[in-house]
Symmetry: C2
Subunit: 170 residues, 2 copies
Amino acid sequence: MNLFHITVPQFEKNLQNMERWIDKAVDHAKNKKFEVDTLLVARLAPDQLPLVRQFQVVCDNAKMCAARLSGKEAPSHPDTEKTFDELRTRIRAVTEYVRSFKPADFEGAETRHVTLPWMPGKVLTGSDYVSDFALANFFFHYTTAYAIFRHNGVDVGKTDFIGSLPFKDA
Amino acid sequence: MNLFHITVPQFEKNLQNMERWIDKAVDHAKNKKFEVDTLLVARLAPDQLPLVRQFQVVCDNAKMCAARLSGKEAPSHPDTEKTFDELRTRIRAVTEYVRSFKPADFEGAETRHVTLPWMPGKVLTGSDYVSDFALANFFFHYTTAYAIFRHNGVDVGKTDFIGSLPFKDA
């Protein structure tokens, strides 16, 4: 077990969960006869990032975590999405990207120095980055996107949030 | 590094972060001249758990994750809190509890069988439990509590959510 196992597989699963949330938002908009993309500017507070940015930042968190821990350069995504269909394309591109990583890419990641753009001259070790920041920040935006949907009546629930679980017979 | 390092320290930090959110809610209520405990029934959707339950479930997630991974029996907390002061007491009790664990308590936790009350006869391995459920569910309720505060005008921000980070000089 290394840092790969607690990051990449759950990013991959949760990104796919977000596509199901979009399916449910599309259904809700059809039932209520509104244009689904109006939800992209929804927020829970006026000084909070709107829903479209929550999706984009979730994607960036997954992508940057995998890239930083493996010492690779992440592909660029310029935040130009204006529809849920475009967000689906972004989600799928980032899912493919994180899926391309293997546990071996994360060998030594625990002690690798990770730099963050807003803290020049400072580093976190790979394990501190994962346990203190990367997972928390991923879930911050992932849950906020979910909460904005919930607040707007989209029929998402805990199963859509957690996704499938690899239960085995006892 | 074992499952201890990606669970217990961040539970401990994030539980303490929640006390700072309460401080800010108390300030906001004083400024706006309302009784802070009215926020305990706030929700973002009518079929969502209210704020007081979000706090209780965060506490339970931290407690149960540490107990399940180490094969210990967790102390019981009967969900009777009716004020933020009582929630502080619960948070501190659970913080003390998770702080009592050591990395050695988690030896072998990766392959330990974890059972969940709503899935009788089924098990998750300790690593699947952490990567697929325990962290996601902790952050689900942690972020929802934060989002309910944000939606109600409490001045919490990303720093209050993430807490301190162990940066070192590059």
